[in-house]
């Protein structure tokens, strides 16, 4: 009678997906508190994982945030021996043409030298010494700079201009004032070419600085071209070089600067480069991560065992139901599918609730720390999927047990 199979009078049983979902839902809702408690383990595991990944990311990006672009592109070069010899004369390894040498390097945006000028204790004033208006002498620092320094330290102007290569080579007696110095000397405009006096030396003010991103000493100083400082104050050598690099080139330039400046004795120069931001972020992430990822994984494992255990108990309790379903036409695969669907649904719910909790934790902790929460969106989106897969795996053994029951035994076994 094999032909009867082909003419469709026997055929196969089937269970539509929609019916599978509603049977599984009904199965879970039949014991709501047990389902909720079972899901709890997965919730804890998933939320621990999501919170850990989110907080690590958030903390990491906080630290990275402290390295603004200018900081991350700043390189400084000084004489290594500076300071050990006190104020006495010393040999500087930094050449006069430092700026030109550095700007030639690929990756350098701007470079300039900066040196404190020894004026022999002369005070600075803005009017002739015997002016009847009275008090006008101040102890203001004088710094010599190469023209490129302003760009290298991100200086901006309130008024006027910076001095340039022309002033430097001609050794013109010009000066740019820091905002603090300008206020003390009572100079607010430069269109009348105001003069200041350092002892007997007259300087014409060509510009007033608004702000600088590095070398804040200049905010309260008189800045003159290096050439001028050599002529008027006998400057012997530049003391320090400030370099601004392209983003990401700081380490590279840091390695090349010393050789470019002092090819014969690069070791005599001390090069300061910013730490690599990525290295910082990764260090923080891996530190925080390892511990909590392990904890989260353990919680997930416990959650999976919980689901497996409860599903197995549920199979044993529902032996009669399994027998009945087999009697009304369910094939083994339909029984397996139902218990798998129930365990996967528990994992899925655990994943959804856990992901939501984890995100809440990230937001709450960030709020108390005044951080900006940063979260890879893929993490909370993948969490329900991870939960469902865990539930599915946890349900494999119980549903295999359910499916392998013989219908007669199952009907005899359960009421």
């Amino acid at each position: 009678m094999r032909s009867r199979r082909r003419d469709g009078s026997v055929g196969r049983s089937r269970l539509w997906l929609r019916d599978l979902v509603s049977e599984a839902t009904a199965g879970l809702l039949a014991r709501p508190s047990r389902t909720a408690l079972t899901v709890l383990g997965t919730v804890l595991g998933i939320s621990a994982l999501v919170a850990t990944l989110g907080l690590a990311r958030t903390a990491g990006s906080q630290i990275v945030g402290q390295f603004d672009a200018l900081q991350a592109t700043s390189v400084t070069v000084e004489n290594r021996t500076e300071g050990f010899f006190g104020s006495g004369p010393q040999i500087s390894r930094i050449p006069w043409d430092a700026e030109a040498r550095l700007v030639r390097l690929n990756g350098v945006v701007a470079a300039g030298t900066i040196t404190r000028v020894d004026t022999g204790g002369e005070l600075v004033r803005s009017v002739p010494i015997n002016d009847p208006l009275g008090q006008s002498e101040f102890a203001v620092d004088v710094y010599a700079a190469s023209p490129g320094l302003f760009d290298a330290i991100g200086a901006t102007l309130t008024t006027g201009r910076f001095f340039d290569d022309g002033h430097d080579t001609r050794r013109d007696p010009v000066a740019v004032l820091g905002p603090g110095a300008a206020r003390r000397l009572n100079i607010t405009r430069v269109d009348q070419q105001p003069a200041i006096f350092v002892g007997d030396t007259t300087l014409v003010v060509v510009g007033i600085i608004d702000d600088v991103r590095r070398e804040p000493v200049l905010l309260d100083a008189v800045v003159i071209p290096e050439g001028t400082a050599r002529r008027l104050f006998g400057l012997t050598a530049p003391a320090k070089v400030a370099i601004r690099t392209e983003l990401g080139a700081a380490r590279l330039i840091g390695g090349q600067a010393a050789v470019a400046l002092a090819p014969n004795e690069p070791a005599e120069l001390r090069v300061v480069v910013p730490p690599e931001p990525r290295a910082v972020q990764e260090a923080v992430e891996s530190d925080v991560n390892t511990l909590f990822l392990v904890l989260g994984a353990v919680a997930l494992l416990v959650g999976a065992i919980g689901i497996a255990n409860v599903t197995l108990v549920s199979v044993l309790e529902r032996v009669g139901e399994i027998g009945l379903r087999r009697a009304v036409g369910a094939a083994r695969r339909h029984i397996a599918a139902q218990f798998l669907a129930e365990s996967a649904a528990m994992g899925l719910i655990g994943g959804i609730v856990g992901a939501s909790l984890g995100v809440l934790v990230v937001v709450a902790v960030s709020a108390t720390q005044q951080w900006t929460p940063v979260l890879d969106l893929r993490v909370p989106l993948a969490a329900p999927l991870v939960g469902a897969v865990i539930g599915l795996v946890a349900g494999l053994y119980p549903s295999w047990r359910a499916a392998s029951l013989e219908p007669v035994d199952a009907l005899r076994g359960g009421a």
Partner: protein, 224 residues
């Protein structure tokens, strides 16, 4: 006309140890519209025989044809499909899902045999009305009396319009008045053309049947 049930030298031996010959060399023919009572002492093999006839179990040897289909040729899955469509079961322990309504319980009887969802609802309601429970559709089993619960189980069994209704001690858990009502329902179903086989200890039940088959120690014989 093809018989509904055709047993030809059927044996069912439980492997043990020790092996139990629960049904020995049974030959039996049940035609459409028959109402057969299966009687015999406890442990004589009545439930085993019914399981084989209902395709819940396979004969160890011999040939069994249900509505002309030889079950020996069928895979496990096909056997499930066959009983899902052709056989309705009523058990002593009603086997109702406690957390589902009467209507949903009857729908489970149609869940696996390719009946579309809407039609399932409709057929389930019709079956419940047929057993006199049209006013209890949304009741969960715990709010129904024993007789009503057994009626839900009968509705679940007849909803797919099977060729054969198999009942194992259907009145075993019921008092005699309730039993009589259930037996009256069986009479009606039989009058509508359904084929019935009822396993029972109860002479009250076998009085309703048209034929009585007796099993003693696994040996099947027709009583006259």
């Amino acid at each position: 006309m093809t018989p509904v049930v055709e047993l030809d030298g059927v044996r069912r031996t439980y492997r043990g140890p020790p092996p139990v010959e629960a049904v020995r060399d049974a030959t039996l023919r049940v035609d459409e519209g028959d109402y057969v009572a299966v009687v015999g002492p406890s442990g004589s093999g009545k439930s085993t025989l019914l399981s084989v006839i209902g395709c819940l179990d396979r004969p160890t040897s011999g040939r069994y044809r249900l509505t002309g289909i030889d079950v020996g040729d069928l895979s496990d899955g096909e056997l499930a499909a066959l009983r899902g469509r052709r056989v309705g079961f009523v058990f002593q322990a009603f086997h109702l899902l406690q957390h589902r309504s009467a209507l949903e319980n009857v729908e489970v009887g149609l869940l696996y045999n390719r009946t579309p969802r809407k039609r399932r609802r409709w057929m389930a309601r019709e079956a419940l009305e047929r057993v006199g429970l049209g006013h209890r559709l949304e009741f969960p089993p715990r709010h129904l009396s024993g007789g009503e619960q057994q009626r839900v189980a009968i509705a679940r069994a007849i909803a797919p319009r099977p060729s054969l209704l198999l009942c194992d001690e259907p009145t075993g858990n019921l008092d005699s008045k309730t039993s009589e009502a259930i037996l009256g329902l069986f009479d009606e179903l039989q009058a509508d053309g359904l084929t019935l086989m009822v396993v029972t200890h109860d002479p009250q039940v076998s009085r309703h049947a048209h034929r009585v088959v007796e099993i003693v120690d696994g040996i099947v014989s027709e009583a006259s």
